[in-house]
């Protein structure tokens, strides 16, 4: 036997030998635990007994290798030449151009100058603009939406003005009441 195969001898070396065995035990336990965790996860995720599937099911899910078809056996370019009807403008658009067309048509995509479209729409309908987060961002970004900003501001000041009017009415009537109360009180004999 080679020198390094023999366990170390001597009093200090028995401790070392014990340490060697302890380190080895730790490593083996790590390996066992690793396997336990792997198996447990496989059990809980449901793929542990997958290797015991019957032949029939295995045949059903075999990889397909035919031209014009993907590995699942589905045809993958059958919608290339179809046309779809746009729900907004009722035109027939090619499938690959459908998404960009919808962006422009509905005024909702990234590059569709939606603020212009919104203003046109709101001027046509004479309705209040919605206070969307998106809208506010747009308004803040552009100079030529000054008109819309002014409108929003004016409405806000209108509200404030109204409350002020109510307050001043209350204040005035209170003053009158107090004036009458104290002036009448002076004339009364106790």
């Amino acid at each position: 036997m080679k020198m390094e195969d023999m366990p170390l001898s001597g009093p200090d070396n028995t401790k070392l030998e014990a340490l060697v065995h302890d380190i080895y035990s730790e490593l083996v336990e790590d390996a066992c635990l690793g396997l336990c965790f792997e198996v447990h996860r496989a059990v809980k995720q449901g793929y542990f007994f997958l290797d015991e599937t019957d032949q029939e099911s295995m045949k059903e899910f075999e990889i397909v290798d035919q031209p014009g078809v993907d590995i699942f056996g589905q045809v993958y370019n059958q919608w290339k030449n179809k046309e779809c009807e746009c729900p907004n403008c009722k035109r027939l658009i090619a499938a690959s151009r459908f998404a960009p067309h919808l962006e422009k048509c509905l005024g909702m995509g990234r590059n569709s100058s939606r603020i212009a479209n919104r203003r046109l729409a709101s001027n046509n309908n004479m309705s209040k603009s919605e206070s969307d987060q998106e809208d506010n961002d747009d308004l803040n970004d552009n100079d030529w939406s000054y008109g819309a900003e002014k409108k929003a501001k004016k409405r806000k000041s209108d509200k404030v003005f109204l409350h002020f009017k109510q307050l001043s009415f209350i204040h005035l009537s209170l003053q009158i009441f107090l004036f009458i109360h104290f002036s009448c009180g002076e004339n009364v004999d106790h």
Partner: protein
């Protein structure tokens, strides 16, 4: 409290006699162990040993054997109710026993070689 500590029943006994004694006995030993473990990790040797062990265990069929044993345990406990603790208590002792002697010898040899190089006494 452990029954051992009842021998040193008073608080002062424990702090003046027992704990310092224990500390002295444990000190040199545990210091050396801690130092060696640290060196094992720092020099990447522990990781290398782990990988070596894993590779050898897969090669010799230990992993498949133990996996088959796991299947039995799972069928016994029921697929829905098996817990990590169940697996660990059933599998670890068997795993330890099933390691082939050649793998065990090789690993012990490598650890001894590392200690011979890096252990300071």
């Amino acid at each position: 409290m452990t029954p051992f500590l009842d021998v040193f029943c008073t608080q002062t006994d424990r702090h003046n006699v027992f704990y310092p004694l224990l500390r002295q006995i444990m000190n040199k030993d545990s210091q050396m162990r801690a130092a060696i473990n640290q060196k094992l990790i720092e020099m990447g040797e522990r990781e290398r040993l782990k990988e070596l062990l894993r590779a050898k265990l897969v090669e010799c069929g230990w992993r498949d054997q133990l996996k088959a044993h796991c299947k039995d345990v799972i069928r016994e406990k029921g697929l829905e109710h098996v817990t990590v603790e169940d697996l660990v208590t059933e599998v670890t002792p068997k795993g330890r026993a099933l390691v082939p002697d050649s793998v065990k010898k090789e690993l012990l040899q490598r650890i001894r070689a590392f200690l011979a190089q890096h252990a300071t006494l």
